[in-house]
Amino acid sequence: DAGVTQSPTHLIKTRGQQVTLRCSPKSGHDTVSWYQQALGQGPQFIFQYYEEEERQRGNFPDRFSGHQFPNYSSELNVNALLLGDSALYLCASSSPAGDTQYFGPGTRLTVL
């Protein structure tokens, strides 16, 4: 049973560029949440997707957007990248039955 998977593992972009990160939830899970983790900090909630809709959003600008597909996989898009967007981006999935969120390995984004 595969856990949460994310791609790519690492990514390097320059300021002003756009990036798309991908996530496949754990089998049987239908809800996907995205978090940003800066170095030395705890993860910060970006948004949550359920039934292909953004259900909840944290304190992140509109440059951060997402999408969920019918197979429950999800994408995180960040436009007009800033140096401060450099971080580990984590995807977490949860099942219809509960709140517990299980995390993927993350995508390390570096903005130069």
Partner: protein, 114 residues
């Protein structure tokens, strides 16, 4: 606003000793808590959880205690092993509307000395 904080940023223990990691939370509406372990370069790994209607929950070598009166959580690791070295986060779950989100503290770095 909501905040989850940890009392100690670093903790060093001898192999075989018990470890206690503490966490304070601020939102009395939080109804569910998870302890995660994060090793370098990896995503957070679920360790144990507890709901607000419980005071204590035990797993394999780990115990979580919840004191709602003072809004405090602790994670106890028995017979700490070198493989337990990692950063530990407590996360509090808050429901907003139809969804839920977790608020994380800064983390405590646990180092196990062989």
């Amino acid at each position: 606003g909501e905040s989850v904080g940890l009392h100690l940023p670093t903790l060093s223990v001898q192999e075989g000793d018990n470890s206690i990691i503490n966490c304070a939370y601020s939102n009395s509406a939080s109804d569910y808590f998870i302890w995660y372990k994060q090793e370098s370069g990896k995503g957070p790994q679920f360790i144990i959880d507890i709901r607000s209607n419980m005071d204590k929950r035990q797993g394999q070598r780990v115990t979580v205690l919840l004191n709602k009166t003072v809004k405090h959580l602790s994670l106890q690791i028995a017979a700490t092993q070198p493989g337990d070295s990692a950063v530990y986060f407590c996360a509090e779950n808050i429901h907003r509307g139809m969804g839920n989100q977790f608020y994380f503290g800064t983390g405590t770095s646990l180092t196990v000395i062989p």
